[in-house]
């Protein structure tokens, strides 16, 4: 079928061509900038800690260690196994503190409370504190994200 009037006249075609070309050019400038401004930080998959630092913990006692750029705690369970808890409030990302006398985690930002297992019990926190696996491996205590072999 032959169309009497062209859908696109020459001017329109050239405008779209030029505009598209300018658009692609701008994207090619902006994308490396976007790439640059996000620093290459990644949460660690696992952290190896010397076991000697944690061996002598009383059952139920906590000791802190850095999980990447976040504070975290190692707790020795009653059966001698270990548990790692990330000490960051699940409400709005504040660092929590452990109150040993009450056996509770406390977030001062918005009065959030967690019990000794990291379960949210009072205040605004929507979820329990994040837990990590902590296994003894020879001389080390290896903390891993869930799902990392």
């Amino acid at each position: 079928m032959k169309i009497k009037h062209s859908l696109f006249n020459r001017r329109e075609f050239l405008n779209w061509l030029l505009g598209g070309w300018v658009g692609v050019f701008v994207v090619s400038l902006v994308s490396p900038i976007a790439k640059f401004i996000f620093p290459p930080y990644q949460e660690p998959d696992k952290v190896a800690l010397p076991l000697v630092d944690f061996k002598d913990l009383e059952p139920g006692a906590l000791k802190n260690f850095p999980w990447g750029a976040k504070p975290a705690f190692i707790r020795k369970n009653g059966d001698g196994s270990y548990l790692a808890i990330v000490g960051v409030c699940t409400h709005l990302d504040c660092n929590v503190t452990y109150l040993a006398d009450q056996k509770k985690f406390f977030c001062a930002c918005h009065d959030g409370w967690y019990d000794e297992n990291g379960l949210n019990i009072s205040g605004p926190p929507p979820r329990p504190l994040r837990k990590l696996r902590a296994d003894v491996d020879g001389e080390n205590l290896v903390v891993k994200k869930e799902g990392v072999a």
Binding site: P32, I33, K35, F36, I37, F38, P39, P40
Partner: protein
């Protein structure tokens, strides 16, 4: 249809409040004279291109750079090795600075030789002289920031030069260094100058420079002033702007190519107690001044040689600033002596730089 209508009403809403149509009309009607000197009018816009690249890449680098004794060199090393595309952003910042200064010099001498600074454009020239000063200050302060042994030595020498000026020199050196010696305070001071004070100062003067160029229009070569009607002109929009874009694209391509193949080096972190490394030289745009200072003997008659050299350089700067008042001839005069002086200055700078590179 509705889209077009609402776009139009948004447009009128802003127009009622901002009244930008005056500016747009001005741009639409603006004409650029076309003659054999027209290519030189692209040098100004080339400077603008490189300046904008400096602003963007500079802000980006400042995201990761840390201006402290312990961290400065390390943070630049991190930008070069760890930050995604960091090496090329730093390389572009480095080369764009070089290109910008190069075009500042070309712009300066082209205006000088065409004599566009003559009445009524004296203030345009003088603001331009300040822009030259700020550009060099940008280069000088930026050179210290990677904090390697080369940049430390160059800054030591550079900030010691004002010391030779009688009476006020010592205070000026102290002001630059933030104390008697170069310390961590010098570094944070240079960083603040480089990313805060100089950009503000430059933008202010640049605004005046631009306003004057629009108000007074492009100058015409000496023999054509006064018979404007018969001369060829080019509409600013879109003809001239499109041509400028072509020039910008080419320059940008050259810049990125150079930046990819010749990234700047980073020496080991500066040690304030270490001896100066061999063969320190300033950036190429300071070489002719460096060599001028070097060739003066320690004593000339009873005056200190360095003092004399610094005073002569200062006098030359003042003469450059007041060039429109030294050459205040009417525009139709050719001014061969002034042209000769321009070429003599270029020859001097080039010869001194080559001499400095060879020794």
């Amino acid at each position: 249809m509705i889209l077009k209508k609402s776009a139009l009403s948004v447009k009128t809403w802003f127009e009622d409040r901002l009244g930008l149509s005056v500016v747009l009309d001005f741009m639409r009607k603006k004409k650029v004279p076309q003659n054999k000197h027209t290519p030189w009018s692209y040098t100004g816009s080339a400077i603008l291109l490189f300046f904008m690249i400096q602003v963007i890449t500079g802000i980006m680098l400042a995201f990761y750079y840390k201006p402290t004794l312990g961290e400065a060199n390390k943070s630049v090393a991190r930008i070069m090795t760890e930050v995604p595309l960091g090496w090329i952003i730093r390389s572009i910042h480095f080369w764009s600075a070089t290109f910008m200064i190069a075009f500042v010099f070309v712009h300066l001498f082209s205006i000088w030789i065409i004599k566009s600074y003559r009445k009524p454009r004296e203030l345009t020239w003088m603001t331009g002289a300040f822009l030259l000063l700020f550009s060099l200050a940008f280069g000088f302060t930026g050179y210290l920031l990677p904090w390697d042994d080369l940049s430390l030595s160059a800054t030591k020498v550079g900030t010691d030069i004002p010391n030779a000026i009688p009476v006020v020199g010592k205070i000026f050196t102290k002001l630059l260094r933030g104390g008697e010696d170069i310390t961590g305070d010098t570094l944070s001071r240079f960083f603040t100058l480089h990313i805060c004070l100089l950009p503000l100062a430059l933008l202010l003067i640049l605004a005046i420079h631009f306003y004057l160029i629009q108000k007074l229009e492009m100058s015409l070569p000496w023999r054509d002033e006064g018979k404007k009607e018969e001369l060829k002109e080019l509409p600013f929009w879109p003809n001239f702007v499109c041509r400028e874009m072509i020039v910008w694209l080419i320059l940008f391509g050259v810049l990125v190519t150079v930046a990819v193949f010749l990234p700047p080096s980073l020496g080991k972190a500066a040690d304030l107690m270490a001896a100066a490394p061999k063969g320190i030289k300033p950036e190429w745009y300071f070489l002719f001044l460096f060599q001028t200072l070097k060739i003066f003997p320690a004593k000339i008659l009873f005056i200190d040689g360095e003092t004399l050299a610094v005073l002569l350089i200062l006098a030359a700067c003042v003469l450059l600033l007041f060039l429109p008042f030294i050459d205040n001839k009417p525009t139709e005069r050719k001014g061969k002596i002034i042209t000769g002086l321009a070429f003599a200055t270029i020859a001097y700078a080039v010869l001194m730089s080559i001499w400095s590179l060879l020794t």
